[in-house]
Subunit: 215 residues, 4 copies
DNA sequence: AATGAATGAGCCTTCATTCAT
DNA sequence: GATGAATGAAGGCTCATTCAT
């Protein structure tokens, strides 16, 4: 009945992987150590043994999910810095939305759950990790608004764009989980077409930025 | 320690009130019947006595919170139907954001928790209750886009506006709850100034709608 | 919402009636005061008010059921004392079995439950009440066995007959309650034909008594 | 207070053993997991850990009790198939009665409780397990009645015998449990002398079968 | 090093009973 | 006299964690 001795680090990665999925789907509290260990084909005590507890596993698994996402979706969005500013904005938005929409990415789902039911365990790490991701976006906004734009103003625009990236996709996921037939038409299929969504957000936001610029 | 036997509706309302707060703060699963009863100065069995169980209390307390919010924030936003369309849009946005930002309103917080960790208990009621709230917003968007606008297009714009209403305020609440000092400057004070936020979202979105209109 | 003031003894009888049914169906422990009161269209506190508690209601309701049964099924079985001994035996057996099989008689069902899960509350009353019921049966057995029969022997035969009266009907009730299809054929329809059953038991037992007589 | 970690089957068997006793004495509903665990010198969560819940423990413990009984009391009663039919009948009856009377056998007590307050959990298993036990008895009855005997008739005789086996012993147990002194003389000591009882039932029933045969 | 048996705290729920009205 | 709101004890179950092996 003994597991084939596979380094021990093997199990650890399995646990991280399983933990990401479960935490992303259920959040910290509703996720159970038992389920995670089972999904990872590991002993029920493995989580405590390898990570010291549920909390540490939570933090570690978010880090793991984040770094995995980072590799798949490079923060530059694949657009060169020489491209026109509109194109770069579009790149940023598409990059963020793709990442959120990717069913293999778990970091944003975990953030969502953490925002809804804060454990306080991720607060620091998230801000340190996520903030830099939005730095290029801030630069672009500032470039579009001009040098004289107030910091306050930049923040407002950044918020508008961020919110547009998050909102529809989370809603889509919720409706996917709900059993009843969706009554609000036109939203749920959006998840399947991130490109259309990103196009819209880009055009919408470009106009928004420019309109508020002259305010 | 014995309660004076009153109407019986007294305790029931106390329970609903306490339940709203606790469910809004912790979500269904993390909330405990014990805490709710304690906050309502009632016995631990009171919740089951009056509502039959935690689940029924959950549904009932959302209904309670929703109706209370509805009274405080009339959906028309206080703007007459004769006003210019821009003004009406601003009224809608301000109404929604005020509602979400109000620390005495619990319905949107509960929805947020429900979206993150669906119990399935609110799915039907929410959609029946919330959807009508956004109907005037849809009308306004359609008015701005013109009659020829595709349904699909209206939905995208609606989503953009909705997301901008939700996003920043939820974020703000999260940071308020988090223990660590907020590292992202410029966002959290926004909660205190809903008007500024609504002004921005209105101008930003008006431009966005008009820009995508000619698409 | 107030009950029409109907003597107060009205409610008491309703309670007794409901209690018989519920106690007969579920036994003391599984029966709940709430269900009894509901069935009796009475307040949940009525049982305590009128009887002082669940236990007292239990005892009282058994007495009620027993006396009601006694009226419906006179212990003599309707056979005159002049009839031949075989006929009188048949009368006794038919009387007992009819009583047990009658769906309106609750006393034997309550006894059965009490035997399975003794509360100790009925022990005395049952023996005082039921024992006389079997006195004529004992006489008949003694008559059949002859004067020289040992007490011990009479008891054995009495037991054989009693058991045959109880057994099949309890079994029949059980199978009626079970959801799965009955796998033992030929027993459950017996409940519907008490006469056939009583005929069999009488003939079977007469032979039995006579056979052991010469032992 | 910590248990020495043994096989794990150790505790499981302790639990089964304790469960048999408690379930046999109190029935499913009145038995508490706490009492069972305490009797098994195990933690209160042990029952759930090893069996998944009270219901599963109930089913499993009945199976355990049944198989233990089966070993102690072989269904053939120790009489060879070549013996005269009367002797074989006696063997059957003695086997069944010994089993029921054995204070270490819990399966029939559990069945009795289950019949009085059906949980529905044992219905299937009981019929699958108990029915074969009575098959040889049926054969013997048919042999005694002759080939032309109606199925219906066989069933009646089987019932008569079964009832005589069950009845007196259950009654005896009840009186043993009752607190008040037994008022019905001559029955309770029977438990101590199963052989006498079985002799009587055999003779009584043999005569009964033969008497009804010519009907 | 790694397992799985075992634990104890905590949660939701049920129910007979009590008490103010 | 009679009601129904309210209580507290108890039960089954879940789950993160610990410990002997």
């Amino acid at each position: 009945m003994r597991k084939q001795r596979s380094d021990g680090q093997e199990t650890k990665r399995h646990l991280l992987c399983a933990a990401c999925k479960v935490f992303a789907e259920k959040g910290f509290r509703e996720a159970t150590v038992a389920e995670i260990c089972q999904k990872a084909n590991a002993n029920i005590a493995a989580a405590n043994y390898h990570f010291g507890g549920k909390e540490a596993l939570y933090v570690e698994s978010w880090r793991y999910a984040f770094e995995k996402s980072l590799k798949t979706f490079p923060p530059d969005g694949g657009i060169s810095a020489d491209a026109p500013v509109e194109e770069r904005l579009h790149g940023q938005i598409l990059s963020i939305m793709s990442r959120i929409a990717d069913p293999e990415s778990y970091d944003f789902d975990m953030i969502h759950k953490e925002m809804a039911n804060p454990t306080g365990l991720l607060t620091g790490i998230i801000q340190e990790s996520i903030h830099p991701l939005f730095k290029p976006l801030i630069s672009i906004i500032r470039e579009l608004l001009g040098d004289k734009a107030a910091e306050h103003h930049v923040n407002l625009c950044q918020m508008s764009i961020r919110a547009q990236c998050f909102g529809p996709l989370l809603r889509a996921r919720w409706q996917k989980k709900s059993f009843r037939s969706p009554k609000i038409p036109g939203i749920e299929p959006l998840l399947d077409d991130v490109k259309t969504l990103a196009d819209h957000v880009t055009r919408f936001s470009l106009a928004g930025i420019r309109a508020t610029q002259e305010g």
